[in-house]
């Protein structure tokens, strides 16, 4: 048997093992894992929540009870409400999703799976319709300014700015200093800086415009397709759009908390008969997580040698 055939057989076995488990239970486990990875970080919520989550992962009976999800949702939403003006949006999405899991588990068992799928579909749709709406009403987004600024001044986009935009690491470091300088200049300079010119690269403009319109297209499509009910072709298109979104976005922009939530919602809403699409979410999660969180760290730890360059390239 060739190694390709062996890999395919192994992949099918893994898919069967993972996907014969109840969809609802898989979603429960993924939802608990996201809290460990990206949940609230204040000690008074993180400590009890982590203990609860670990118990829930180990004890299946516990995670299928409504009271368990009520307690989890209460912790997450209480944290979100207390820190409301500063908490990231993906933590709000986590809170609403935990609330949805509580409400789903209050339902009769016969409708729990359907209720979970609908919650996932509608939340996915609302999030992306809202995100697209904000972009369409913001002129500095539509003209490419936003992504150009992010490429030049946000460390998260540094790799894209260097490898595709043609900017230099030194120029981008200076840009981040300039961003701080202009904010602190009022107390450090006799004549405060009124403006600062950012270092750019030959293709940054074009890259920014491409990212701008690609994002509107994919987010808008995903939003509309998700709010459109249906389990046939619409479900396939919707699930595919979610996969394309996560694969293309989170390789460039490591906002992993939100990425996890899109994967959970995308997986949750996907009808069970589309096994390969469902498996796709789990694969995308694994690939993105390994690539963004570990390979880059390994490359940085090794410094500026040839291996680092190779790791950075891939």
């Amino acid at each position: 048997m060739s190694w390709i055939a062996r890999a395919q057989r192994l992949g099918n076995r893994l898919a069967d093992t993972l996907l014969t488990r109840s969809t609802l239970d898989l979603v429960r486990i993924l939802s608990l894992l996201v809290l460990i990875q990206h949940g609230p970080r204040e000690w008074y919520t993180e400590v009890p929540l982590t203990l609860l989550v670990l118990l829930g992962i180990i004890v299946r009976e516990m995670r299928s009870r409504p009271w368990f999800w009520f307690v989890v949702a209460s912790f997450v939403l209480a944290h979100d409400i207390v820190t409301w003006p500063s908490v990231d949006n993906h933590k709000w999405l986590m809170g609403w999703w935990m609330m949805a899991m509580w409400i789903v588990h209050l339902a009769p068992r016969a409708v729990q799976l359907e209720a979970m799928r609908e919650n996932a579909r509608v939340m996915l749709g609302l999030v992306f319709v809202l995100a697209t709406f904000w972009k369409l009403i913001t002129p500095q987004y539509l003209d490419g300014s936003f992504f150009e600024y992010e490429l030049l001044a946000d460390k998260r986009f540094q790799e894209a700015a260097i490898w595709i935009g043609g900017a230099t690491a030194k120029g981008l470091d200076e840009n981040r200093d300039l961003k701080k300088d202009i904010q602190n200049s009022y107390r450090k300079d006799a004549e405060p800086m009124e403006s600062a010119e950012l270092n750019s690269g030959p293709y940054v403009d074009a890259l920014a415009l491409a990212m701008t319109y690609w994002t509107i297209a994919i987010e808008g499509s995903l939003g509309v397709l998700s709010l459109w009910p249906g389990n046939g072709l619409v479900a396939v298109l919707r699930t595919s759009a979610a996969l394309v979104f996560t694969a293309t976005t989170y390789l460039l922009a490591p906002v992993m908390g939100f990425g996890w939530m899109v994967i959970i919602l995308g997986f949750g809403q996907c009808p069970e008969r589309y096994k390969k699409l469902r498996m796709g979410f789990l694969l995308v999660l694994g690939v993105i997580y390994v690539y963004r969180m570990h390979l880059v760290e390994v490359g940085e730890a090794l410094g500026d040698g040839p291996f680092h360059e190779m790791v950075r390239f891939y």
């Binding site: 979100d80 820190t83 409301w84 003006p85 500063s86 908490v87 990231d88 949006n89 709000w92 999405l93 609403w96 609330m99 949805a100 409400i103 209050l106 339902a107 409708v111 359907e114 209720a115 919650n119 509608v122 939340m123 609302l126 809202l130 995100a131 904000w134 913001t138 500095q140 987004y141 490419g144 300014s145 936003f146 150009e148 600024y149 030049l152 001044a153 120029g171 200076e174 840009n175 300039l178 961003k179 300088d181 202009i182 904010q183 602190n184 009022y186 107390r187 450090k188 300079d189 006799a190 800086m193 009124e194 403006s195 600062a196 010119e197 950012l198 750019s200 403009d205 994002t215 922009a253």
Partner: protein
Amino acid sequence: MPDSDASQPREVRSKSDSVDVRIYKYLAPGALLALALLQLFLGRFHDLTPWKGGGFGMFSTVDGPSSRSIRVYLETPDGEIATRLPDWIRNREKYAVSFPARFRLQSIADEVARSHWHYIRGDGWAEDGVRVDPGAEAKGPEEKAEEAEEKPGKRPDREGPAPYPRVSSRRPEAEPRDDRVPIVVKAVRLEVWRNLYDRKTDLITQEKIAEVRAEAPPA
């Protein structure tokens, strides 16, 4: 008490069942939408940054929390001193920049005005708030413009003493330090600024979005 479901006719039972199922499916998304609409309103009309507040406006605008900052000015009999928020107020700063509501800024300004401020040595200033070397002037605007032409994108290195004396503060409830020269603060002004970006010129500029003033209590 009789079971209300069993006593209902079959078609009415189905209708109440379908209402229940809709609650299970749409209550949580409904709550998400309600908060998002509130955030949209506050973002458009009350300077809440679109990046926060549960409305999913992140990655649509330059106006995120890291692009906003607070400037602090102490009004003294000898003039204004520009400084920054005391370390012990920093945890409230992130809320204030994300949503610069007047009540929040005023509360911070009042606490800063009640604090005990004093001079510290450094950056060309002595412990009593007097410039160490009056002859060492910072570069003039023409010199800075020349250097900017030679190093585009990088601002000129600062020379000479900082324009304001270095200051430090203690909380209002703490005892003032006997070993430091106190500053007589008449009032405190806080300003919230945000970055703007023009892609045609690659320039970052700033825009003020909120300002409050708090009088210091009488000595």
